[in-house]
Amino acid sequence: MFDFLDSGQYNVLGAFWVTVQLTLYSAVGSLIWGTVLAGMRVSPVPLLRGFGTAYVNLVRNTPLTLVVIACSLGLSQTLGIDLGGTTFKETGFRLAVLGLIAYTGTFVCEALRSGINTVPVGQAEAARALGLSFFQVLTLIVLPQAFRAVVAPLANVLIALTKNTTVAATIGVAEAALLMKEMLENEAQAVFAVFAVFALGFVLLTLPTGLLLGWVSKRVAVKR
C-alpha cells in the first residue's frame, strides 16, 4: 500500500524540509514585522497609529492565497522584482516568504496588542513617573511582560503559519502540499495512503510545537 514511498520517485522528506524552511523564515520575519506594527498601533503619533490600523485591517481581510499570488504574478512576473533570486525556485521561495510575512505579521500584531492589554496600568504609570520616554516604556517595561503573556497565542499563530505555508503551492514552491497534489494525481489507487503520509507529517510538525510552546507559556507567564 505504501510502496510509492520506496519507488524513489518522490522526495517526501525534501518537500517537508521546504515546508519547515518556509515556516522558520516566515516566523522570524513576521515576529519582527508584527512587533513593529504593534508598536505603531500603540504609538503617540496619530499617523503611525492610522497606518498600523489600516494595514492590519486591510491585510487580515485579504485571503493569503491572494497575497501570495499577488507577490508572484504582480511583483515578480509583471514588475520584474525577483528579490535577488537567480533561479525560478529561489525567487518563488522568497516571494512566498514575503507574502507569508506580510500576512502573518498582522496576526502577530493583534496577539501582541492583546498581550499589552494584560500588563497592569501601574507598570506603565510607574515607568512614566520615572521619566521614561514612550519608546523606553514600550521596549523596557511593557513589551517584555506582554511577550511573556502571549506565548500561547503566538504558538497558535505559529501553528497556523505552518499550515499556511501550503499556500506557497499556488505559486509552485515545491513544498509538501504541491508534492501531495502530484502524488494524488499519479497514485490514484493509493489516495488514502498518500493522505495518511502527509497528514502524519503535519501532525508531527504542529503537535510538538503546540506542546512545547504550551509548556513554555506556563513557565514564563507572569504570576499576577
Binding site: 485571503p63 504574478l73 514588475l79 492583546s114 514612550f134 516604556v137
Partner: protein
C-alpha cells in the same frame, strides 16, 4: 487620544510627533513613488488597464459577480454544514463517557492539525472518476466544500466547547438540581446561552472560510472570485489592476463581517441579560487578566 503608555502631548511632544509624522510621510511617499514609477514603467498605470472596471460592465457580469457568488455559495454552504457537525463534535468532547471524549478529541485534533488545502486536495482525489466519480463540472466545488467542512467542523467544535465552558458552573448545577437529564441540560440550558457567547467567534470563522475558498480557485480549478483574475487578465492584460479590484471586493465583504463580529462581541460584553461570557475569534485567546490593561485608553 491619550493612553497610559505616554503623556498627553505638550508643545514639545507635539512638535516631535509632527517631525515623526513628516519622516513617515517622506518614507512612505518614497516607497509609493518607487512602486508607482515601476508600475508606470511597465505600463500598468495606463488608463486602458483600469477603465474597463468602470466602462465595461461585462467584466462584472461575466467574471467578478459570478466569481463572488461562487465564493459566497461555497462559504455559506460550508458554514451551514459545518455548524451542526461542529456542535455535535463539541458536545461529544464534553461527554461524560471517556471513550466518546477520547475518540471525538482525537478526530478534532487530527483535522485541526492538517492544512485545509490538503483536505481539499484529498477530497478532490476522492471525488475523482476512479473512486466516487462526482461530475467534473461540480467536482472542484464539492472538493472545496468538503475540505472546508472537515476542517471547520473541528474548529467549530472547539468554539462550542469553549462557549459551553465559559458559562458559570451554576447553570449546569441548577439544571441538574431541578432534575433535567444530561441531554436536556445541554439543549435547554447550556447551548442556548453558549450560542450567544459563540456568535462573534462564529462570524470570525466565516471570514476564515471565505478566505480559504480562494485556495480552491488557485489549485483545484474552482471558478471563484480569485480565479477570475486569470481570465480577466487574459482578456484585458491588466494583472495588477485586476488583483487590486479583487482584493478590494474581498476586503469589503470580510471587513463588514469582521466589524459585525466585534460589534456583537462588544454588545455581548455589555449586555446585562447574558452572562457576559464571550468566546473570542481566536479560540485559545490570551487570558485578558483584568479589565484595565495598558493598551486601553483610560
Amino acid at each position: 487620544m491619550s493612553s497610559v503608555l505616554y503623556d498627553t502631548p505638550g508643545p514639545r511632544a507635539k512638535v516631535r510627533n509632527w517631525i515623526y509624522s513628516g519622516i513617515f510621510v517622506v518614507l512612505f511617499g518614497l516607497v509609493l513613488w518607487w512602486a508607482l514609477s515601476l508600475m508606470g514603467e511597465k505600463g500598468q498605470l495606463d488608463a486602458d488597464k483600469w477603465t474597463p472596471f468602470v466602462t465595461d460592465s461585462r467584466i462584472w457580469t461575466t467574471y467578478l459577480i459570478p466569481g463572488l457568488m461562487e465564493t459566497l455559495k461555497a462559504g455559506a454552504l460550508s458554514m451551514v454544514i459545518a455548524l451542526p457537525l461542529g456542535a455535535l463534535l463539541g458536545i461529544g468532547r464534553l461527554s461524560d463517557h471517556t471513550g466518546v471524549r477520547a475518540a471525538v478529541g482525537a478526530w478534532v485534533e487530527f483535522f485541526r492539525a492538517i492544512p485545509v488545502l490538503m483536505l481539499m486536495l484529498f477530497s478532490s482525489a476522492l471525488y475523482a472518476p476512479q473512486l466516487m466519480d462526482v461530475p467534473s463540472e461540480t467536482r472542484p466545488f464539492w472538493a472545496v466544500v468538503t475540505g472546508l467542512v472537515l476542517y471547520n467542523s473541528a474548529v467549530i467544535a472547539e468554539i462550542v466547547r469553549a462557549g459551553v465552558l465559559s458559562l458559570p458552573k451554576g447553570q449546569a448545577e441548577a439544571a441538574k438540581a431541578i432534575g433535567l437529564r444530561k441531554g436536556q441540560t445541554m439543549t435547554h440550558v447550556l447551548l442556548p446561552q453558549a450560542v450567544t457567547a459563540m456568535l462573534p467567534a462564529l462570524v470570525s470563522q466565516l471570514v476564515v472560510i471565505l478566505k480559504d475558498t480562494a485556495l480552491g480557485g488557485a489549485l483545484l480549478g474552482f471558478a471563484e472570485l480569485l480565479s477570475m483574475n486569470r481570465q480577466i487578465a487574459a482578456n484585458y492584460s491588466n494583472t495588477i489592476a485586476t488583483m487590486f479590484v479583487i482584493a478590494l471586493i474581498y476586503i469589503a465583504v470580510n471587513f463588514a463581517l469582521t466589524t459585525l463580529a466585534s460589534w456583537l462581541e462588544k454588545r455581548l460584553r455589555q449586555s446585562k441579560k447574558s452572562t457576559g461570557a464571550v468566546v473570542e475569534g481566536d479560540v485559545a485567546e490570551v487570558d485578558a487578566g483584568g479589565a484595565a490593561g495598558v493598551g486601553k485608553a483610560p
